[in-house]
C-alpha cells in the first residue's frame, strides 16, 4: 500500500464520483419529457418558474437523491455483512430484514393500518417490521453474549422463509385491491412523494457511510478470521454486534422507504472487490458510489425503456446486475 495504491484509491474514488455526476445529469435529462443537457444545466443554475424546472426539481431530482441514498446504503450494508460473515453470498436481505419489512407492510395494507398518519403509514410499518425481525434474529443468534456468525446466518435465513410464507398466506387470503398494493410495494420503487423522507434517508445513508468507514480497519482485521483479529487488538464480539446493527439499520431504513430493491447489496460489493481489491478502506467508499450510480441508472432505465409505462426498478437491478456479475466472474483474473 505504498504511494501507488494510494494514487489508485484516489483515482477510483474520483472516477466514480465523476461518473455519478454524469449519470445524475443524464438521468435528469431523460424521461417522458426529454430535456437537453444545456437546458438541464440552465434550469439548475437560474430557471426558476419554467416548466422544466418543475419537472427537474419536483420529480426527477428527488428520485435521483433517493437512488443515491438507497443504492449507496444497500451497497455498504452488503460490504459490511459480507466482510463480517466472510461469506460472499450474504447480502443485506439474507438476514430477514426485507421479509420483516414486507410482512409489516402486508399486515398494514390488509388490516387497514392506523388512519391519520397517511403517507407515513407504510414506511412506518415497514420499518417496524424490519426492526422486529432484526431484534428476533439478533436475540436468537446470540448465545451468552457472544455472536455465533454461522448461527446468526442460519437463523436469518430461516426467519426470512417464515416471513415470506406469512406474506404468501396473507396474499392468498386478501382482496385483489390489497394484493396489488402489496405486490407493488414488494417490487420496490424510487417514487417517493414525501421529500422529508428523502432528506432523512440521505442523512442516514451518509451517516452509515461514515460509520462503516470508521470500522473499515477492523473489517480488514476481521477478514483474517476472528481469532487473528482478536490478537490484533480488535474487540471482536463488540465489533460483530455493532456491524450487524449498523448494516441492519441502514437496510431497514432503505427498505421501509423504497420497498425491496434486490441485488444492489449483493452485486455491487462483488464487482468492486474484483476491481479495487479486498481492503475495506477503499471498498466501502467506492461501493457506496458504485451502488448509487447503479441504482440511479437502473431507475432511469425503468422509467424510459417502456415509457410511459414504468417498470419496477427491482426487475432492472436483477437483470442488469445479474448480467454484469456473470460477465465480471467470467473475465480473466476473477478469483472465483
Amino acid at each position: 500500500m505504498g504511494l501507488n495504491s494510494k494514487t489508485l484509491w484516489l483515482g477510483w474514488t474520483l472516477f466514480l464520483a465523476i461518473l455519478l455526476v454524469i449519470v445524475a445529469l443524464f438521468s435528469l435529462g431523460v424521461g417522458a419529457v426529454h430535456i437537453p443537457l444545456q437546458k438541464v444545466l440552465l434550469s439548475l443554475t437560474t430557471g426558476r418558474g419554467t416548466p422544466e424546472y418543475a419537472i427537474l426539481f419536483a420529480v426527477r431530482l428527488p428520485r435521483i437523491l433517493l437512488g443515491l441514498a438507497v443504492g449507496g446504503g444497500l451497497a455498504i450494508a452488503g460490504v459490511v455483512l459480507q466482510g463480517m460473515f466472510r461469506n460472499p453470498l450474504v447480502e443485506p436481505y439474507t438476514l430477514g430484514i426485507s421479509g420483516g419489512a414486507a410482512l409489516g407492510v402486508a399486515v398494514n395494507i390488509v388490516a387497514g393500518g392506523p388512519a391519520g398518519i397517511g403517507l407515513f403509514s407504510l414506511p412506518l410499518s415497514g420499518f417496524l417490521g424490519a426492526v422486529g425481525i432484526i431484534s428476533l434474529v439478533y436475540l436468537l443468534g446470540t448465545r451468552g453474549g457472544t455472536v455465533k456468525l454461522s448461527r446468526l446466518l442460519l437463523i436469518g435465513v430461516m426467519v426470512s422463509f417464515i416471513a415470506s410464507s406469512l406474506i404468501m398466506l396473507i396474499m392468498a387470503m386478501t382482496r385483489t385491491e390489497d394484493l396489488h398494493g402489496i405486490i407493488f410495494w414488494i417490487m420496490g420503487s424510487l417514487q417517493e412523494p414525501n421529500s422529508s423522507f428523502i432528506g432523512a434517508i440521505l442523512c442516514i445513508s451518509l451517516g452509515g457511510l461514515i460509520a462503516a468507514l470508521i470500522f473499515s480497519v477492523d473489517l480488514n482485521a476481521l477478514s483474517l478470521g476472528e481469532e487473528e483479529a482478536f490478537y490484533l487488538g480488535v474487540r471482536v464480539e463488540r465489533l460483530k454486534k455493532v456491524l450487524f446493527l449498523l448494516a441492519s439499520f441502514i437496510t431497514g431504513c432503505c427498505v421501509s422507504v423504497t420497498g425491496i430493491i434486490g441485488f444492489v447489496g449483493l452485486v455491487v460489493p462483488h464487482v468492486m472487490r474484483l476491481l479495487v481489491g479486498g481492503d475495506h478502506r477503499i471498498l466501502i467508499p467506492t461501493s457506496y458510489l458504485a451502488g448509487a450510480i447503479f441504482l440511479i441508472l437502473c431507475d432511469t432505465l425503468a422509467r424510459v425503456v417502456m415509457a410511459p409505462v414504468e417498470l419496477p426498478v427491482g426487475v432492472i437491478t436483477g437483470l442488469v446486475g445479474g448480467s454484469i456479475f456473470i460477465y465480471a466472474l467470467s473475465r480473466k483474473g476473477a478469483s472465483f
Binding site: 500500500m1 470508521i214 480497519v217 480488514n220 483474517l224 478470521g225 487488538g233
Partner: protein
C-alpha cells in the same frame, strides 16, 4: 532483573465447562526463548490462547510485566503481545505488504484509517528481516507454505511486540524452512531481546533452540527446565506413550530424540 515478562499463577482454563488446563504456574523472564512441548491435546494451544486473553481463566491469574492481562485493554495488550497462530485460515485478500501492515493496527488511533510513514518503515523492516521483501506485491494466496509462515511472522513483528507467541510455526514445513524459521527466531531473540514462547512438536528442534522447555501433560505442568533436564528418556516415554532413544550430540550437549520404530505401546 525486575519483573518477569510473563508470570502465570495457578492457571486453570478451558472451553465452557470443559477444563483443559489445571493449575499451571510458571514464569518467563525477559529475553528468554522458551519452548512449550507436550502431546496433542495436552493444552499447549489453550495455554497460548489464555496468555493472549482469548480465553478467560476459570482460576488463576496471568501477569504481563506485572500487570494482570485481563485488566488491560485489548489494544494495549496487542501492542505488547503478538501471536502467530497454527495453520491460519484461508488466504486473506491482501498483498503481502498490505497483510504485514495489518500488524500495525494495534498502534493506530480509533479514527485512524491510513498508515503513516513510520508504519510503512516498520512493515518494510519486518519484511526485510523475514526475507520476504521481494515478494511484497504478491497476493497471500500465491505463496508457498514456507513463504506464508514467514509472512505471518513478519506481520507479528510489525506489531513490535515485547512477547512473541508462536503455535507450531514449523508444522508442514520442510527441514530447510524449519531451520530458517527457528534461526530467525533465535536471531530476533538475541539481537532485539524479544521474548519468545513457541509451541513445538519436534522435540529435537525444541532442544536445539530453546533455553528452557515447558512440558505439558494432560493439562498439567509435567516438567520445566533446560532441555537436557526435560528431554529425558523416562519422561518422554511416559508422556508420549512411546519408546524413544535419547542421544547427546557430541560437544554441543544437545539432545536428539529418536523414536524406536514399531514399538509404540
Amino acid at each position: 532483573m525486575g519483573r518477569p515478562m510473563l508470570e502465570i499463577k495457578g492457571l486453570s482454563c478451558g472451553y465452557g465447562k470443559r477444563i483443559v488446563l489445571h493449575g499451571v504456574s510458571f514464569q518467563i523472564k525477559r529475553g528468554e526463548f522458551v519452548g512449550i512441548i507436550g502431546p496433542n491435546g495436552s493444552g499447549k494451544t489453550t495455554l497460548l490462547r489464555a496468555i493472549d486473553g482469548l480465553l478467560h481463566p476459570s482460576e488463576g491469574t496471568i501477569f504481563l510485566e506485572g500487570r494482570r492481562i485481563h485488566q488491560m485493554a485489548r489494544r494495549s495488550l496487542a501492542q505488547k503481545v503478538a501471536v502467530v497462530t497454527q495453520s491460519p485460515e484461508a488466504a486473506p485478500p491482501f498483498s503481502i505488504e498490505e497483510f504485514v501492515l495489518l500488524g500495525r493496527i494495534p498502534h493506530w488511533g480509533r479514527f485512524q484509517l491510513l498508515e503513516t510513514e513510520g508504519d510503512l518503515t516498520i512493515a518494510e523492516q519486518a519484511m526485510v528481516l523475514t526475507g520476504i521483501a521481494s515478494l511484497q506485491e504478491r497476493r497471500m494466496g500465491e505463496l508457498s507454505g514456507g513463504e506464508r509462515q514467514l509472512a505471518f511472522l513478519a506481520r507479528a513483528l510489525a506489531q513490535e511486540p515485547r512477547l512473541l507467541l508462536l503455535d507450531e510455526p514449523t508444522a508442514h514445513l520442510d527441514i530447510g524452512h524449519q531451520v530458517q524459521i527457528m534461526d530467525l527466531l533465535r536471531q530476533l531473540n538475541r539481537e532485539q531481546s524479544l521474548t519468545i514462547a513457541v509451541v513445538l512438536h519436534d522435540l529435537t528442534l525444541a532442544g536445539l533452540y530453546c533455553e528452557r522447555l515447558i512440558l505439558l501433560h494432560r493439562g498439567r505442568l509435567r516438567k520445566i527446565g533446560p532441555p537436557q533436564r526435560v528431554l529425558m528418556k523416562g519422561v518422554i516415554e511416559e508422556v508420549y506413550q512411546t519408546r524413544v532413544r535419547v542421544m547427546q550430540t557430541p560437544g554441543m550437549g544437545r539432545s536428539i530424540i529418536l523414536p524406536i520404530a514399531g514399538n509404540g505401546s
